[in-house]
Amino acid sequence: MNAATPVRRKLKVATTSLAGCFGCHMSFLDIDERILDLVELVEFDRSPITDIKHCSPDCDIGVIEGGVCNAENVHVLHEFRKNCKILIAMGACAINGGLPAQRNSLDIRDILAAVYAQPGRGVHVPNDPEIPLLLNEVHPLHEVVKIDYFLPGCPPSGDAIWTFLTDLLAGRTPTLGHGLIHYD
């Protein structure tokens, strides 16, 4: 058996935004100078912060903002699930589909027809293979892959993200409690 004190290596953290607005990532930056403490504990892998395009195979924690609205989102989400030991759904869209999921009450074909209708010339929906196809419905992350933790908020506050991540890095099950998730 190993000793109770683990050898501390820096944990690899990857982040991405799928069908989100990057608001959660902006809120993440609200941890302000604590990001300097954070980089003592973690190394950022694939993330808008680093501009690394793909996850290393040995990521520890993946933080994902936004739900799943198109084929590319699915591929990215699969890549995160495959390479991260712990996956976190961050923010309302990742957890519930959020604003993008408002389209779920309508048929995607009707929406596209309305958007791309050209008076007198019918409907021409862009079909370039470069453009990822939209899913019939927007899904929260946990309907597509297994999600380990949910960090609610629209967006979650910087303090909530900080508490959540530091708990997680220390091996504690994160508990946010009053002021971070309960406000009454």
Partner: protein
């Protein structure tokens, strides 16, 4: 067993065995003491020795070997002239015991568990030795050595190599501190030997006082002491030798607890006095202390204390001149078995058998030691009873909370500035204890030992009391630098070592749990194993014969809930299947764009190939 002595004991050995048998009258009930005393003289229990003891006690040889094989501290193989056992509690590990033991093994050219070729020494681990406040600790030939350091390891290696007898080792090696940090009603009791006995009125009045005081069992279960004594008092002895007994459970084996050790070191008279009060109430003439094998070093001082009490007529016939108040106490040594802390296993052990828990009911109060009515109480309970006999029920009831009268001794160890014994009135908050002992950056407390409750910071306002967190007294502290998975894994290993093996759910379940924890630790674990762990814990809890198995999964369950990431960071498989067909989720877009290129489909090759379907994408709807 290929050994010289297997063909028959030597004349010298036979003389030793004979002397011990005579001392115990060849009484089979005293088999544990016979085995221990013979082993202390001869070093181990050879096949010939076991045969001689079987002959001398009239027991079947298989029974004798069965008992010798059950207890960790009996050995049926030679284990060297010096037997070093490192305490393997998590608190010892946190103080660096693993590295120190590796250093010792390296210097002695040994592997753990191996006996040196010259039969001089063996080094191994043992369950918590109750020195958590002054670890890392070890036992050399069952004598405790505390505060191990690299320097002390080197000194001990040198002493062993030079074959210096233990009695000539530096006395400070064997120093055991009490480390009492906070005193309250019990430790500040200020009672002189005999005070409680002089204060006794009739047995019924004493019983009424104990009942009115609200005293509850301090071992952790919290059964009403007055009720237990009343049941025992009202039960009728049976058979040829009807009698009542009082048993003091000093088999303090729960990892992290050591308060009984301190009570027996510093307040032995109070404990014996409590036993005598109990004997007076239930009508017993004999009391037995079941002292855990790890506390062997206390045997002589305790026997001396008993002698003093006999000389002062506080034990023996007509105590303090009261005609008919006869009571004496004997100390029975255990031999390294955690399960004997369970009262019925303890009774079996007292009767010279393997420590396998009995079925309950009948309870010990009606069918205890030798089938007679027996009151089995924790050390601290008995000491508290003596205090109540003097100070009265009302005084005692005023201390603590509504359902938890009096005070509780906590054995505080782990990450804090001042480990030791803290006595508080019941109702003290966890955070208060942490503040008083100088704990900082605490991420968890393991309360009530390996079988107890793991408490996270959000719960630090909870209270030590039967209403909230009941405990036998173990209070282990873990700061932010600790890995709670490693803590739980240490406990999982502990229960494998200590399961008595009688019932399958516990014998197999504890090992399955250990295997799952090891698998996760080695990086081969997945979500499946987490699910499996929950299943194993459920079976342990619902199907085990006694409390050992029922609580063996507690710490893993608690840490899985409260420190789950420490598990997840070790997992490498995350299987999940969506409840809908991903490829069909693109159907409408394929329809309106007319696309059917690879980018318009999901190829989930790994999933399909697993089921042998191949890697072809699903049909477009």
């Amino acid at each position: 067993m290929p050994n010289a002595s297997s063909n028959g004991a030597t004349a010298g050995d036979r003389a030793v065995i004979e002397a011990v048998l005579v001392r115990h009258g060849g009484d089979a009930v005293r088999l544990m003491q016979i085995l221990r005393e013979v082993q202390e003289e001869l070093g181990w229990l050879s096949p010939a020795t076991l045969t001689a003891i079987a002959d001398g006690t009239g027991l079947p040889r298989a029974r004798v070997e069965g008992v010798a094989g059950f207890y960790h501290f009996f050995h049926t193989e030679p284990l060297g002239r010096y037997r070093v056992l490192w305490s393997d509690n998590i608190t010892d590990r946190m103080l660096g015991s693993s590295d120190l033991m590796a250093r010792m093994c390296k210097k002695l050219w040994l592997k753990p568990g191996q006996v040196s070729e010259d039969q001089l020494v063996s080094v191994d681990t043992t369950s918590c030795t109750g020195m958590c406040d002054q670890g890392p600790a070890l036992l050399v030939n069952y004598r405790p050595v505390t505060r191990m350091t690299a320097e002390r390891v080197d000194q001990i290696v040198d002493l062993i190599r030079r074959k210096i007898p233990l009695d000539d080792w530096p006395a400070e090696f064997f120093a055991v501190e009490d480390n009492i940090r906070r005193r309250d009603a019990l430790l500040d009791g200020g009672l002189a030997p005999g005070d409680a006995l002089r204060a006794l009125r009739s047995p019924q009045e004493t019983l009424d006082a104990i009942k009115a005081s609200g005293l509850r069992g301090r071992g952790g279960a919290g059964f009403s002491t007055g009720q237990k004594w009343e049941f025992c008092r009202n039960a009728v002895g049976s058979g040829a030798n009807p009698a009542h007994y009082v048993v003091c459970n000093a088999d303090e084996g729960e990892p992290g607890t050591f308060k009984d050790r301190v009570l027996l070191s510093s307040c032995a008279d109070l404990v014996f006095e409590g036993m005598t009060v109990a004997g007076y109430v239930v009508g017993a003439r004999k009391g037995l202390v079941y002292l855990r094998g790890e506390y062997r070093y206390l045997l002589e001082p305790l026997n001396a204390a008993l002698e003093r009490r006999r000389a002062a007529n506080l034990l023996g016939k007509s105590i303090l001149g009261r005609i008919g108040f006869d009571f004496d106490i004997e100390i029975h040594m255990g031999a390294g078995a955690y399960v004997c802390g369970e009262e019925t296993a303890l009774l079996e052990s007292l009767e010279g058998k393997r420590g396998v828990p009995r079925k309950r009911p009948p309870f010990p109060v009606t069918n205890g030691f030798l089938g007679q009515p027996t009151a089995v109480n924790n050390v601290e309970t008995l000491a508290s009873a003596a205090l109540i006999a003097v100070r009265g029920a009302a005084w005692y009831k005023a201390i603590g909370t509504a359902k938890s009268s009096g005070t509780k001794l906590l054995s505080v160890s782990g990450d804090c500035a001042r480990p030791g014994i803290y006595e508080y009135p019941y109702g003290v908050k966890v955070e208060q204890v942490l503040a008083d002992c100088g704990a900082r950056d605490t991420q968890a407390c393991q309360i009530a030992g390996a079988s107890g409750l793991c408490v996270a910071p959000a719960e630090f306002k909870r209270r030590i009391a039967f209403e909230d967190i009941p405990t036998g007294g173990s209070f282990m502290i873990f700061d932010n630098s600790r890995d709670m998975f490693a803590v739980a894994r240490n406990f999982a290993h502990f229960f494998v070592d200590e399961s008595c093996g009688f019932c399958t759910p516990c014998r197999v379940g504890t090992t399955l749990l250990k295997n799952a924890m090891d698998k996760i630790n080695d990086g081969h674990g997945g979500e499946y194993d987490i699910n499996d762990i929950w299943r194993i814990i459920r079976t342990l809890k619902t199907a085990s014969h006694c409390g050992l198995g029922q609580t063996a999964g507690n710490c893993v369950a608690d840490t899985l809930q409260k420190f789950r990431p420490s598990y997840e960071l070790r997992l490498n498989v995350h299987d999940f299947e969506p409840a809908f067909d991903l490829d069909k989720a693109l159907s409408k877009m394929r329809e309106v764009t007319g696309r059917d290129d690879p980018g318009a489909h999901f190829h989930i090759a790994h999933r399909k190939s697993k089921s042998g379907i191949g890697t072809k994408a699903g049909d477009p709807a």
